[in-house]
């Protein structure tokens, strides 16, 4: 019964008892149990990603009116494993003149930077790697490590296109890091803690109801951070050959590929943690095993939205991408931060329903004002729409009647 209620704590305690029974010092027990936990978590994350790749391909195919993978196994469910085997057996080509260490370190950094975020994610009330007191900052800082991976890839592969794409990717990541950090401050402000599990514990009301606009900005910013459509300028095939990973092949390319999908999953997890109440739901505190179900449901909702956006939106131009960030997202998130801080301070002692209503009203007003400003900007910059003039058309009846076509 204890096992069913909270399998994680049960197994962890048994494992630690076992290690202590072997006569190990307590610090070694701690070390080994953390190492084992990290290994299991990382492996399951990687396995999850192989499934996610299949799900994503299937959903995108459905949106585009195709079948998607449907050959390997029922509904093509083993397609990712087939791809995996192919990628494992491929030759890994090292380009001439490449810088050996940066070239080989880059894919490792790309995967590990994303995977390390999982150390601070709370999966249930008891199941988390560590409830780090600076968890939010940790998530932002690991973005910097990912950037380093991209620079190393661009530099190490001795290719102009790779370097250009890396510069472009870094410009995008650094720019979008600003609104990302600002919007992540708002859940911290509401909960009074930077530890992710404490933020979840403080969410009696999901923060998306207290700050819907901020959640939207956070979502858009994260789309840019993971380089998904409509912000997939990093791999704009028409401009850069294939992005900073042109020169990578075989397993090394596979690592970048896995890192991208893992990053998308990770930001969905972070979004669910910060704005959708994480593992919270009816009975999740008494029965921690339920928490993981709620968390999975919320995360898959966010992930589904990301896939849907990827399948339906075209890519921005690079100047548009920068303009959206510097002229819209950063001023908006800064003013929302100040406004939310002020209003939340005023209604701090009120019951939940009043807080939600007041903050929703504030967000509505901000949205209305934003809409007015954007409409005026749009009017000022409006150009003649590029619509084709009516042209003479060759029609069947005009040919048959032998009249000259105008």
């Amino acid at each position: 019964m204890d096992f069913l209620r909270d399998p994680y704590t049960f197994v962890a305690n048994r494992f630690q008892e076992f290690l202590t029974g072997l006569g190990l010092a307590p610090e070694w027990v701690l070390f080994i149990s953390f190492l084992t936990g990290a290994f299991i978590l990382a492996t399951s994350a990687m396995l999850l990603v192989t499934m996610l790749i299949w799900i994503e391909r299937k959903i995108v195919a459905r949106v585009q009116d195709r079948f998607g993978p449907n050959r390997v196994g029922p509904w093509g469910i083993f397609q990712s494993f087939a791809d995996l085997i192919k990628i494992f057996t491929k030759e890994m080509i090292t380009p001439t003149g490449s810088d050996w260490l940066p070239y080989n370190l880059a894919p490792v950094l790309a995967v590990s930077a994303v995977l390390t975020v999982w150390a601070v994610l709370p999966f249930t009330v008891t199941f988390y790697g560590v409830n780090l007191s600076v968890g939010v900052l940790f998530v932002i800082a690991l973005g910097a490590v990912g950037e380093m991976g991209i620079i190393l890839a661009g530099w190490g592969s001795n290719n102009k296109y790779a370097l250009l794409a890396a510069f472009r990717a870094i410009a995008q990541l650094i720019s979008y890091g600003v609104p990302l950090a600002i919007t992540m401050l708002i859940p911290v402000m509401f909960s009074g803690s930077m530890a992710l599990n404490d933020i979840v514990l403080a969410q009696d009301v999901w923060y998306i109801f207290l700050a819907p606009l901020v959640a939207l900005i956070f979502f858009v910013t994260n789309l840019a951070e993971i380089g998904r459509a409509p912000f997939d300028l990093v791999e704009a095939e028409s401009e850069l050959v294939s992005g900073f990973n042109v020169e990578y092949s075989g397993l090394k390319f596979g690592m970048f590929y896995v890192a991208e999908f893992l990053h998308a999953l990770t930001v969905s997890l972070i979004f669910a943690t910060l704005f959708l109440g994480g593992w919270r739901g009816p009975g999740a505190v008494e029965y921690p095993v339920l928490g993981i179900v709620y968390y999975t449901l919320k995360t898959s909702l966010v992930y589904f939205l990301i896939i849907l956006l990827r399948a339906s939106l075209p890519r921005f131009r690079i100047d548009q991408m920068m303009a959206i960030n510097w002229k819209l997202l950063i001023p908006l998130s800064l003013s929302l931060l100040m406004l939310t801080a002020l209003v939340y301070r005023l209604v701090f002692t009120q019951p939940h329903i009043v807080r939600v209503l007041v903050l929703l009203a504030v967000n509505g007003i901000v949205f209305g004002v934003l809409n007015l400003i954007l409409a005026r900007v749009e009017k000022r910059n409006s150009r003649r729409p590029l619509v084709a003039e009516p042209r003479p058309v060759a029609r069947a009846e005009s040919i048959s009647s032998n009249t000259p076509v105008e």
Binding site: D99, L132, S133, V134, L137, I140, A144, E147, M148
Partner: protein, 173 residues
């Protein structure tokens, strides 16, 4: 030897080695990459000192901003300092023993100090209290003046950097 001590010695060796590489390697790009490694090692030391906040800030500020800025600057000014030109000036054979001498004398002075081998106080391993730190930074009786001076410094540096590095049109300057 506890596991922490073994890991610390390893990281310290890597940090010092890469610091030496930063100042002695020929290609500036490689020096910048070794600088990143050194900064990582320093971040690890902050973490073992019980300051999680500054360990993360080290990664965020140094690796996320300063190191990337340096790498960009190296790439923008590349191909001038090519590999044939010596990367160190003529005085290096004089400064290298001098540096070793300074290091030896620091160690000597420290080792004659009675508190040199102090063991760590276990009460501080839980990490710093960020809440208290944040309050102190905005408390008029605390550190509000250093905090404000630092923010003014940052704004001034930002404006100055933009002004200096801006490409002026119209041939002026």
């Amino acid at each position: 030897m506890t596991p922490l001590q073994i890991v610390f010695l390893l990281v310290a060796a890597i940090t010092l080695f890469s610091a030496v590489m930063v100042v002695s390697i020929r290609g500036m790009m490689h020096a910048a990459l070794f600088l990143v490694l050194t900064l990582m090692g320093v971040a690890f030391m902050f973490a073992t000192l019980g300051s999680r906040f500054f360990a993360i800030i080290q990664i965020l500020v140094y690796i996320g901003s300063i190191a990337i800025l340096i790498i960009f600057a190296v790439m923008l000014t590349r191909n001038i300092m090519d590999a044939e030109v010596a990367s160190l000036n003529r005085g290096w054979w004089f400064f290298a023993p001098l540096a070793l001498l300074i290091f030896a004398s620091i160690v000597l002075v420290l080792s004659s100090w009675s508190a040199f081998a102090t063991l760590r106080d276990l009460s501080s391993t839980s990490g710093e209290n960020i809440l208290e730190f944040g309050k102190a930074l905005t408390d008029p009786n605390g550190f509000v003046i250093p905090f404000e001076v630092a923010s003014v410094l940052l704004v001034a540096a930002m404006v100055g950097a933009v002004y200096i590095a801006m490409e002026r049109r119209g041939g002026r300057g």
